[in-house]
């Protein structure tokens, strides 16, 4: 396939491509933490486990907030690409708020578990649960910071200057949300059976 590549070069291409490659490595990283959780799922013979410690319904509500933020960030992307700056900023802000609510919910859950002596060192469930959900929460936090920086930069910039940053960070945000779907299923939904 011998085509002249000069005109096809676009900076935006490479930023999002790089993000996708990064997310490939992140998928592998989370896969291993999930495998560890699954490995220990049936190994807990005493003490807290998923069935007796977790509240899938409460976490489910916070999950809805997180997944909705995927929709809102998609709306933000669309507005940005059409140059609708005001709408873009609003959708972006809602995304950040929804993500913050999710993290808040995670924090409440952690506090509740900690008070009930379900800790990272209590047993293998505690270790595996906090590691898996903790790394996810960390990724959500980093995503929120990136979205906030994006929001700040966009506020200061009076036009929608077609930066690739919006698509790139939105791609990361989608990943963080959909990894949670897998984690939520493996950790919370599975505890119901």
């Amino acid at each position: 396939m011998d085509t002249d590549r000069a005109e096809r070069f676009v900076t935006g291409d490479i930023n999002r491509f790089a993000m996708l490659l990064f997310l490939l490595s992140e998928t592998a990283f989370f896969a291993f933490l999930i495998i560890a959780y699954v490995y220990f799922h049936n190994a807990v013979t005493s003490g807290p486990d998923a069935a007796n410690s977790l509240d899938p319904w409460k976490s489910g509500i916070y999950t809805v907030f997180l997944l909705t933020s995927s929709f809102t960030v998609w709306r933000a992307e669309k507005c940005y690409s059409r140059g609708r700056r005001g709408a873009f900023l609003k959708w972006l802000l809602v995304t950040i708020l929804l993500g913050a609510v999710f993290l808040f919910g995670q924090g409440r859950e952690y506090l509740h578990l900690y008070r009930g002596n379900v800790t990272v060192n209590r047993n293998v469930f505690g270790t595996a649960f906090f590691t898996l959900t903790g790394f996810h929460g960390l990724h959500v936090l980093l995503g929120l910071i990136a979205l906030a920086v994006l929001f700040g930069l966009a506020l200061a910039d009076s036009r929608c200057s077609q930066s690739s940053a919006v698509r790139t960070i939105a791609t990361y945000w989608h990943f963080v949300d959909w990894v949670w779907v897998v984690i939520f299923s493996v950790v919370y939904l599975w505890s119901l059976f």
Binding site: F9, I14, S25, E26, A31, L33, V120
Partner: protein, 554 residues
Amino acid sequence: MSDTPYIPGAADLSIAPDIEARSGLLSWVASVDHKRIGIMYLLSSLFFFGVGGIEALLMRIQLARPNNNFLSPAAFNQIFTMHGTTMIFLVAMPVLTGMANYLVPLMIGAKDMAFPRLNALSLWLLVFGGLLLYFSFFAGGAPAVGWFSYAPLSEIPYSPTTGVDYYALSLVVLGIASIVAAINLIVTIAKFRAPGLTIRRLPLFVWMVLVTQVMILLALPALNASLAMLLIDRLMHGNFFVPVAGGSALLWQHFFWAFGHPEVYIVVLPAFGMISEVIPVFSGKVIYGYEFVAASTVAIAVLSYLVWAHHMFAVGLGHPVDLMFAMGSMLIAVPTGVKIFNWIATMWGGSIRFTASMLFAVGFLLMFTIGGLSGVSFAAFPIDWQVTDTYYLVAHIHYVLFGGTIFAVFAGLYYWFPKISGRMLSETLGKWHFWLMLIGFNMTFFDQHFLGLMGMTRRTFTYPDLPGWAALNMISSIGAGVMGLAVAVFLWNIAASLLRGEIAGDNPWNAWTLEWATSSPPPPDNFKRLPPIRSRRPLWDLAHPENPDWTHGH
């Protein structure tokens, strides 16, 4: 002649655009030019090669005689751990990444890497990771758990000093550096090729680097996850790998080798790539079977994820599991082995120039074959049940990693040194380097096959005076000294050649790929003009208008 497309290069993205043109320490430290970063990778690797080599010499002094007390057990155990960790993570991976960094943009006709600043980040994360690992010596002791740090020995009750913490943190930093560099290289190769350079026309070195970077994206996360889990165990009293608390010692092994096996191919495939550049040029013939060599590389990459538990044959996984992994491990020998035939076929009928580079390439063929064959013996796992964790295994790993990767790196360095520095390395010193290295290496490691078969286990700070053990160990230790001498000759060669070496010119070897179409060293944005690219060997086509490659459909 076609112009290079507009692609932001180092000059556009540097914090101070004129800094790249300057000399002096600051201009190097602040550089985002892939050529300078590549050189700094190589310098870092060379430094740690010296450190790892000294660690090896210290061990061989201790092991030269039975019941020796030159090193205490604690010292020996820290040194063998640091030797392995250094050689894999601070030498093998960085030297290959460094050469890829330097050469890939040149070989694809680009001005720089896709993300020059990210490139600098990878380099400095490497340096930081290396310093972090070695800081452990000053913080209460280096790790003493072996480079793959099995649990629960690596847990707090059995490794109470901070050594293992530094090991884990350092490797996480290095893992991130590798992943970032991998993203950079993949995007560069995918998007920055000069017009006419299709994927099928990629030089084999670039192709193998590409496949390797994809493997890095899928293997290093396994290590990072394992290390995160180990750190949570150690620093937060987690239970992942603590059997008495319900954790699993075997889970560490599975996770580590899920990284560890692809890792050994990660450190060998770019080496195969260098051999695939060197042998054709010095045989005066095109590589025999480019498509097969390229396809076998992908086969190796895929298969490498399916064989990890061949490091665990003695762990008690059961015959069905052992058989599955034996099958995969034997299978992977096929794409690895056929490359040897392709390289020999390239030499066959050629007009071979035995430069120092070619000597190392031929040495590689023989040494890697030995290592590969002993590897097959492990795949027949009842044999593994006898020889794993013995000096037979130590011999195997050094034949593939040193006789393989390092010999190939020497071949590559002698080949590309003129391009990087503008001067030729001394061929005379190069030949001395080669013969001393070949003799020293085989003296050190060939007898270790026998030591293993006589019952000597690895990672032992001393051994009883059983018949024959002392003599073979002494020969091995003397061989290590000869290897040290060979490295000294090499370092002398580099120093002397940088100062007074013959000026190289653009293409001293009459080679064919794009890096030879510019000056030595190349200008900051790499190319003033590119030749037309209609095949895998643009400069061959230019020099042989009567018989260009593209008339053969290549």
